[in-house]
């Protein structure tokens, strides 16, 4: 089994190819370069450097979001098109899960964070149980302050991961005190290989129907729905 993993949901590009036994290659590029420009060349060069051709791939795992809308779409488009055209299974995993590996031996919860601006974050709550990743709370988009208030009611330590956790560092410490633990710069990188490990045994669905999980509606749609509600209210 040769699993290709693609994560372009945020600034870092993270790709990997792994089998059940070993990580054959993993690449992380943490620069603001456009994913549309660099993802395909990076995948090509990574596979070439380990003497694998696209036809050797047996499964694709992709980070489905949340994250940058455009970033997530580039990864999902590459992944679903590759899977479709190579007739191999495709599995989509939460982009936040790529930041949970640091907590595999941590006694507490793991909280990966992506900055969603204006005080908001994409986040969720995970934990490892017998080295198996479990989702404690669904991925969500909301005000970081509200989320931290919710977390402050829990009694376990929480490991914050992801480069963007730094954005909220003061607020996190204010709300959680010494129950908050921060990952190092090395473990703040999304790890495609971690996604691959999670996605390796997941049941794949119909490749055509794999779409990003944006969590948020498009702005135009939100406004339109509000308008509809107003119209309905006026009609009554």
């Amino acid at each position: 089994m040769n699993v290709l993993v693609i994560d372009t949901s945020n600034i870092p590009l993270s790709i990997a190819v792994l089998t059940e036994q070993t990580v054959i290659a993993e690449t992380i590029i943490n620069s603001k370069k456009n994913h549309s420009l660099q993802a395909m060349p990076a995948i090509e060069s990574m596979l070439r450097s380990v003497d694998l051709s696209p036809k050797d791939l047996t499964r694709i795992v992709v980070a489905k979001g949340p994250g940058s809308y455009t970033g997530v779409r580039i990864g999902v488009t590459l992944a679903k098109t590759l899977a479709w055209t190579l007739s191999i299974p495709l599995v989509a995993v939460s982009s936040l899960a790529a930041l949970t590996g640091a907590g595999r031996y941590f006694d507490g919860y793991i909280c990966p964070v992506f900055n969603a601006r204006r005080g908001q974050a994409y986040t969720g709550l995970y934990a490892y149980k017998d080295q198996e990743l479990v989702q404690v709370k669904e991925d969500l988009n909301g005000l970081m302050e509200d989320w931290l208030n919710e977390l402050s009611l829990m009694d376990r330590k929480i490991l914050f991961t992801g480069q963007d956790a730094a954005v909220f560092r003061e607020l996190i410490i204010e709300k959680l005190g010494d129950r908050a633990v921060f990952a190092t710069i090395t473990e703040n990188m999304p790890r495609a290989a971690e996604l691959g490990l999670i996605g390796m045994n997941m049941e794949p669905g119909n490749v055509h129907d794999v779409v990003p999980n944006y969590i948020r509606m498009a702005e135009a749609e939100t406004k339109w729905l509000q308008q509809q509600k107003k119209v309905d209210a006026n009609d009554r």
């Binding site: 549309s36 395909m40 696209p54 488009t77 479709w84 990003p212 498009a218 702005e219």
Partner: protein, 337 residues
């Protein structure tokens, strides 16, 4: 006999997800278009973020359908051609990345195509090109006169300095309270009305082949407002007819001058506005009797955005040895060269 080139074309520059297989640059084996228009109608225009979301949902379905209808496998395809620009960047990205994935997976050449080159090459699916030729490209995003002296050679001799013709149509339609997309509604109303309302024509400097429609658009809006203030009711049909006549006067007069000045043997009309009845009629009136120039207007399905035109233009690039690499990116402001 040499094998005829088989090109898979992909187009996602605006609100149509499209894929097509074209043989020899002239013969359509399949031409699949998934339109998003119903989804955008409620917003009164194309919303870029929504367009990108739909493209991701549709792209593999559409490409698969194009191959199925053409009864070809991807292995039989010689190259993948895709629109790299201009267009909505988030929308273009989906086609570009899907094309890259297919090219990479099957080690096929990848060819980035200019959207306008595509529109022009839609004509080659109807009739072989004769050079030099002039092409009038009119759509929601473009109003251009392009001179071609040979395959793959483009010289923009005139372009809009503000609104595209189709854009002016949509804005005027909105002012008149017509649903989106407004172009066809104005065209229909114009057939019933008379061009009796005085509206300006922007000829610009002597000898210029450029266009400008924003003044005309403002003039229509002012005319409507002034009439309202005087408590008069303007006939919408007459206003539509007057507006359309102004657009067509400028388009056709400048096109005719360009055709003569550059000694074009063909006039190719391209882009969604080529579906406009009024424009078609005037072009036929102007050019049908001329023996020195042949007028070609493709059917509606090839005038609006589609991928057959991208495959057709891509065929020429392929034959000329032009290739893109995997760093091919969406380029919303790509220039036609």
């Amino acid at each position: 006999m040499t094998k005829q080139t088989l090109i898979l074309g992909i187009e996602t520059s605006c609100d149509e997800t499209a894929a097509s297989v074209v043989r020899g640059g002239t013969e359509i084996l399949s031409n699949v278009v998934a339109s998003q228009i119903e989804s955008h109608k409620r917003f009164g225009g194309v919303v870029p973020e929504i367009a990108s979301r739909h493209h991701v949902e549709q792209v593999t379905y559409v490409v698969e359908e194009a191959l199925n209808q053409a009864e070809r496998t991807i292995e039989e395809i010689d190259a993948i051609a895709v629109t790299e620009g201009p267009g909505l960047v988030g929308a273009l990205l989906i086609g570009v990345n899907a094309a890259k994935a297919i090219a990479f997976a099957h080690e096929k050449p990848l060819i980035g195509v200019h959207h306008i080159a595509g529109h022009i090459y839609a004509n080659r699916l109807m009739k072989e090109m004769k050079f030099p030729l002039m092409s009038l490209v009119v759509s929601g995003g473009h109003t251009e006169l392009v001179l071609m002296k040979d395959h793959g050679s483009y010289e923009v001799v005139g372009e809009t300095r503000d609104d595209a013709a189709g854009e002016a149509y949509d804005k005027v339609a909105r002012t008149l309270g017509l649903p989106y997309p407004g172009g066809p509604h104005i065209d229909r109303l114009a057939q019933e009305g008379k061009p009796v309302i005085k509206l300006p024509r922007a000829w610009l400097e002597e000898g210029s082949f450029d266009f400008s429609f924003s003044g005309l658009k403002s003039s229509v809006i002012n005319t409507l407002h002034n009439a309202e203030q005087r408590g008069e009711q303007l006939d919408t049909k007459d206003l539509a007819a007057s507006f359309q006549e102004s657009v067509i006067d400028v388009l056709v007069t400048k096109t005719e001058r360009a055709v003569s000045q550059f000694g074009a043997k063909q006039l190719l009309v391209a882009g969604g506005v080529a579906a406009n009845k009024g424009l078609r009629e005037r072009l036929h009136e102007t050019f049908d009797d001329r023996e020195d120039v042949e007028l070609v207007i493709p059917p509606l399905s090839l005038c609006t955005d589609n991928a057959a035109m991208i495959a057709a233009a891509g065929t020429i690039s392929f034959e000329q040895g032009k290739r893109s690499d995997y760093a091919l990116n969406a380029n919303p402001g790509l220039e036609l060269r």
